[in-house]
Point group: D2
Chain length 101, copies 4
């Protein structure tokens, strides 16, 4: 399955990149395929590994902030590997052209 | 923590209430405090119990549909009990009046 | 269409009920059917009226906080009226029993 | 502001890339800065231009499917330009290294 998530601390000021970097470091070291975007992290794996990772990210942030909002979107379909890039490639194929990156 | 989630099957037609009812039945039998709304289910509990429940709901729906989107929002703050109704009551108190139900 | 939204100020502390109350007051005075839940506000109407309302709520919050996250979920289907309560009633009918409120 | 959105048709089968391509084509021709990811489209602009675009995408999809879910997340902060790549760069700077792309 492919999962996007974001972990937002409330009450820690508006500049979040330092706190977010700690979370991204955990994702980077997890070994799971992922992509960091301006709005969250997209990760691919089985339920246990993905939600184990999200829990670790969430609890790390909760250690830094007394209130945390975490948003998670799961797209679960038979084919489960290579979809972080594969889904974009499918849309480009249907569109008949590459999109600017 | 308080968590809202929705489990949406793709490709099973547009009338989803029968499929959603199976999921709500699982929530109802979990014993966790919850509220069903027009847009999802709000549930309260610890990470393990809440995410164990969401996984069961998600996998039950995946047994009925080959593609499932599940959206989850976690609001995690120190005080963890009685917040499904408590958060609405706090807003009403700040507003200085009750809202129509 | 039926729309759930939440407006979260970042960097204004963790107790948000006072700020949220201002937003709910705007919703209450809009005249649109709505329900306040622990995780957001569900409102029903046409695109222009719903998104005009959400914009007003978002900008009011931005007047109070230098960074605001707003989450919006639209469920748009032919039948457009009475669905805040109607969708829950449909699930209860499919389930064959009322859910505790 | 920076906004992520996804437009999901219900009841049109599970392979959505053809329908999604139509929506992406609209985004591509809007002239707004954007990024297509595996989980949605991230776009940057003022409220009117971003929500005008999302409405057009949503209504185009509704022309193809009798039920459509649209999810929108707004991150609205003072600095409003160049943040699709800028937010990722800030996290990499805080992390002290580049992330694999």
């Amino acid at each position: 399955m492919i999962v996007e998530f974001s972990v937002v601390p409330i009450g820690r000021g508006e500049a979040l990149s330092g706190l977010v970097a700690r979370v991204v470091d955990i994702v980077d070291k997890s070994g799971l395929p992922y992509q960091l975007t301006a709005m969250g992290t997209i990760v691919e794996g089985e339920w246990d590994e993905v939600f184990g990772l999200i829990r670790l990210c969430h609890e790390t942030m909760r250690g830094q902030a007394s209130r945390v909002y975490t948003h998670i979107t799961v797209d679960d379909r038979e084919k489960t590997s290579g979809r972080i890039k594969g889904k974009v490639a499918e849309v480009e194929a249907a569109l008949g052209r590459a999109l600017k990156k």
